[in-house]
C-alpha cells in the first residue's frame, strides 16, 4: 500500500488549477493593459508631433517675414520666439551651427539640408525633446525647434506604473481566487480520500456529508451507498464468522462433560488392563490412546475458539525463556531430540502462553521435521527471538501461506498425531503477546520458525503488574 502512495503527490491538482487561474487572469489582464498603454502612447506622441509641426510651420513663416529684409537679424527672430517660451530654437546659417548643448540628430540634419521638413525624438541633457527641422526658403537658413516632451513622458510613465500595478494586483487576485476555488473544489475530493482511508482502517460507519445537488453531492451519495453496502456485507460476514466460532466453542464445550468421563474411564481401563485377556487389554490401550487424541483436539478447539473470540487475557510476569524451554523440554521427555543454544533477553510476558507457543513449535518440528529440533534463543536489540529449526523435508511454497490456518495439512490424506491446530494456536498466542511467528523453509532443507516477542511490554497497573524495570 505504501509503494504506490509514495508516487502520488497530493496537492498537484490544486497547484495546477491555481497556475491555470493565474495564467488566464494574468495573461488576459496583461494583454489588455499593454494594448491600452501602447494605444495611448501612440496617440499622445502623434498629438505631440502634430502640434510641434504646426507650431514649427508657423515659426518658419515668421522667420521668413523677419529675415526677408535683414537676413542677419537672427537675434530679433530668437527674441520673438523666446517670447513664446515653449520651445528652444537652434539656427543653422550657411551650413554652420553654433556650438551648444543641444545637438541636432544627423538624420534630421541631412533631411533638412536636402530642403525638406522633418522631425525626430531625442533626449538631450536628460530632457526628452521632439526636434522639428525646417529650412527657411530663400535665406540659406534652417531652423531647428526643440519641444520639451518631459510632461508627456512623465504622463506615460505614470500610466505605465498604474497599469503595471493594476496588473500585479489582478494577477495576485486571480491567484488567490484560484487557490480558494481549487481548495473549495477539491475539498470534497480530500474528504472522500480521508473517508476511504478510514473505511479501509475499519471505521465502517464513515460517511461523506451529502451537501449540495451538484456533481460532488451525487458522488458523495454513491460513495455512501458503497460504504453502506460494504458495511452491511462485512457485518453479515462478521456475524457468520462469529456464529461459526460460537458453534465451534459450543460444540467443544458440550464435548467436555462426556470427554471428562471418557478420559477417566479410559485411564481406569488402562489401569486394570493387566487383569484383562490379551486382546481386550490391547483394545483398552487403543481406547486410552484415542481418548487422549480426542482430548487434545477438544482442548485445542476450545483454546483456538477462545483466542479467536478475543476472550483471552494476558498475565504478564518476568520470564526467562531459556529456563522455560529447558523445563518444557524436560517435562515432555524431549531431552534427546532437542538442542537448545543461546540466551534471550529477559522477557515480561505470559509464561503459560509462551510455553504453549514453544511447545507447539518444537512439537511440530519433532513431528514433521525428522524427529530432531534445534532451538536457538537470541535477540536483535529490539525484540527477543526464538528460532525452532528442523531438518525435515521442508514446507512447500504453496502451503506456507496456509500453514497457520486451522486444520491445515500439507498432505490432506496424512493423519497426524496433532490436532491440526497447534500452529494456529501458537500464532494466535504470539499475536496476543504482541509478537509474531514467521517461517522460512526451502524444499529439502528443513523449516525454521522464528518467534519474535517484544522485550518490554506495557502492562496494566495493579498488584501483579510488572514494570519494565526490575528490582534484580
Amino acid at each position: 500500500v505504501t509503494e504506490p502512495r509514495a508516487r502520488i503527490r497530493p496537492g498537484r491538482i490544486r497547484r495546477r488549477l491555481t497556475v491555470a487561474f493565474v495564467l488566464v487572469g494574468g495573461l488576459s489582464t496583461g494583454a489588455l493593459a499593454l494594448g491600452s498603454y501602447l494605444l495611448v502612447r501612440h496617440s499622445r506622441l502623434q498629438d505631440s508631433s502634430r502640434t510641434a509641426l504646426a507650431q514649427s510651420t508657423l515659426n518658419v513663416r515668421v522667420a521668413e517675414r523677419t529675415l526677408r529684409g535683414r537676413p542677419g537679424d537672427v537675434r530679433t527672430l530668437i527674441t520673438r520666439y523666446a517670447a513664446r517660451g515653449d520651445f528652444v530654437t537652434v539656427v543653422e546659417r550657411s551650413g554652420r551651427i553654433p556650438p551648444g548643448r543641444l545637438a541636432i540628430p544627423h538624420d534630421l540634419r541631412a533631411l533638412v539640408d536636402a530642403g525638406r521638413i522633418g522631425y525626430e525624438r531625442e533626449t538631450a541633457a536628460g530632457t526628452p525633446y521632439v526636434v522639428v527641422g525646417e529650412p527657411v526658403p530663400n535665406t540659406g537658413t534652417a531652423l531647428y525647434f526643440f519641444y520639451d516632451e518631459s510632461r508627456l513622458w512623465s504622463d506615460l510613465h505614470q500610466l505605465e506604473t498604474v497599469l503595471a500595478g493594476a496588473w500585479a494586483v489582478l494577477a495576485a487576485l486571480s491567484a488567490l481566487v484560484g487557490v480558494v476555488l481549487a481548495r473549495r473544489l477539491l475539498a470534497p475530493v480530500a474528504a472522500a480520500g480521508a473517508a476511504a482511508r478510514s473505511l479501509a482502517e475499519g471505521m465502517l460507519d464513515t460517511r461523506l456529508p451529502q451537501s449540495g445537488a451538484d456533481e460532488f453531492g451525487a458522488w458523495a451519495a454513491s460513495f455512501n451507498e458503497m460504504a453502506d453496502a460494504l458495511q452491511g456485507k462485512i457485518a453479515a460476514l462478521t456475524e457468520a464468522q462469529a456464529r461459526e466460532r460460537r458453534f465451534t466453542a459450543d460444540v467443544a464445550h458440550e464435548l467436555r462433560t462426556p470427554l471428562t468421563a471418557l478420559v477417566a474411564e479410559a485411564e481406569l481401563l488402562q489401569a486394570h488392563a493387566g487383569r484383562m485377556p490379551g486382546d481386550v487389554a490391547d483394545v483398552a490401550g487403543l481406547v486410552s490412546h484415542d481418548v487422549g487424541r480426542l482430548r487434545r483436539l477438544v482442548d485445542d478447539l476450545l483454546e483456538i475458539s477462545r483466542l479467536e473470540a478475543g476472550a483471552e487475557s494476558v498475565r504478564a510476569e518476568r520470564v526467562d525463556a531459556g529456563d522455560l524451554v529447558a523445563a518444557l523440554v524436560a517435562a515432555r521427555g524431549w531431552n534427546g531430540a532437542v538442542t537448545v543454544a543461546g540466551a534471550a533477553p529477559p522477557l515480561v510476558t505470559d509464561r503459560r502462553r509462551l510455553e504453549r507457543i514453544l511447545a507447539n513449535l518444537i512439537g511440530n518440528a519433532l513431528e514433521h521435521g525428522g524427529g530432531r529440533a534445534r532451538v536457538r534463543l537470541g535477540g536483535d536489540g529490539r525484540d527477543a527471538l526464538v528460532t525452532v529449526a528442523d531438518d525435515g523435508p521442508g514446507i512447500p511454497e504453496a502451503f506456507r501461506a496456509h500453514l497457520f490456518d486451522r486444520f491445515s495439512k500439507a498432505d490432506p490424506s496424512r493423519t497426524s498425531a496433532g490436532s491440526g491446530l497447534g500452529l494456529a494456536i501458537a500464532r494466535e498466542n504470539a499475536v496476543l503477546l504482541g509478537g509474531a511467528i514467521a517461517v522460512e523453509s526451502a524444499p529439502g532443507a528443513g523449516a525454521t520458525f522464528t518467534l519474535r516477542l517484544p522485550v518490554t511490554t506495557s502492562l496494566p497497573a495493579g498488584a501483579d503488574a510488572v514494570t519494565a524495570v526490575m528490582d534484580h
Binding site: L259, E312, S313, E317, D464
Partner: protein
C-alpha cells in the same frame, strides 16, 4: 491412607468413574449428585477433602463452597469447565484451595487432592514465627493475634508460614507455588495472588494498604520486617 473424600458432581458418568478412580488410589469416597446432597454429607461427617463441581443443579458449586467455608477449613478442589473464566478466580476468592480443569487425568486429580490434603495435615515442627502482631504456630497449625485464633484455610496458613519464615525476603510466585502448593514450573500464579488477597483480608488492619504482606512489583511477595 484411607483419606475421606466428598465428591459433588452432577454428571453420573463422571461421578461413577471418578469415584472408582479415587477408590483405586486408596481413598474413601462419598459421592453426591447435587449441591444440597453434598452439603448434607459435609455436615454429617468429617472429610479430608472435598471435590466440588462448579456447575451443579439447584445449589451451584459456588453456593456450596460459600456454605462450607462458613464453618470449615476442609481443603476444597473445584472441578471447572474452563481454567480462565471468572469461575476460577471467584472460587479461589471464596476460599477454594485449588482447581482442576475438565477434562482432567485421574493421575492429575489424585495428585492435586493429595497435595491439598498434605497441606492440611502434615505436621510441621518448628518455632513460632511472628509477623507484626500475628503469631504463626506450625505445631498447633494456627495463626493467632493477641492469643485469638485467626480462621485460615490450610493453604492460607501454609502461605503465611512460608512468607513469615523468610522475613524481608521477596519470594517469587513460582517459589511460593512450589513450596506451598507443591507445583512445577507451570502452576497458575493466580492461586498465589488470590490466596495473598484472602490472607491480607484476614490479617491486615487495612487490606487495601497491606503492611504485613507486601507486593514486590515484578517479583512476588514479601513479609515485612525482621523477626521480633
Amino acid at each position: 491412607m484411607d483419606e475421606r473424600v466428598l465428591l459433588v458432581e452432577d454428571d453420573s458418568s463422571i461421578r461413577t468413574v471418578v469415584t472408582m478412580g479415587l477408590r483405586d488410589a486408596g481413598m474413601r469416597v462419598t459421592a453426591a449428585g447435587t449441591g444440597r446432597e453434598g452439603l448434607d454429607h459435609a455436615r454429617g461427617a468429617a472429610f479430608d477433602a472435598v471435590l466440588l463441581d462448579v456447575m451443579l443443579p439447584e445449589v451451584d458449586g459456588m453456593e456450596v463452597l460459600r456454605a462450607l467455608r462458613r464453618d470449615s477449613r476442609v481443603p476444597v478442589v473445584m472441578l471447572t469447565a474452563r481454567s480462565d473464566t471468572v469461575d476460577v478466580v471467584v472460587a479461589l476468592e471464596l476460599g477454594a484451595d485449588d482447581y482442576v480443569t475438565k477434562p482432567f487425568q485421574m493421575a492429575e486429580l489424585v495428585a492435586r487432592l493429595r497435595a491439598v490434603m498434605r497441606r492440611a495435615t502434615a505436621s510441621r515442627d518448628g518455632d513460632v514465627v511472628t509477623v507484626g502482631p500475628v503469631e504463626v504456630d506450625p505445631d498447633a497449625f494456627q495463626a493467632r493475634r493477641d492469643g485469638e485464633e485467626i480462621a485460615l484455610t490450610a493453604t492460607e496458613f501454609r502461605l503465611l508460614h512460608e512468607l513469615a519464615s523468610h522475613p524481608g525476603q521477596a519470594l517469587t510466585r513460582e517459589q511460593l507455588l512450589e513450596r506451598v502448593w507443591g507445583y512445577d514450573y507451570l502452576g497458575d500464579s493466580r492461586l498465589v495472588d488470590v490466596a495473598v488477597q484472602r490472607l491480607r483480608s484476614k490479617i491486615e488492619a487495612d487490606p487495601a494498604r497491606p503492611e504485613l504482606i507486601q507486593t514486590v512489583r515484578g517479583v512476588g511477595y514479601r513479609c515485612a520486617g525482621a523477626r521480633r
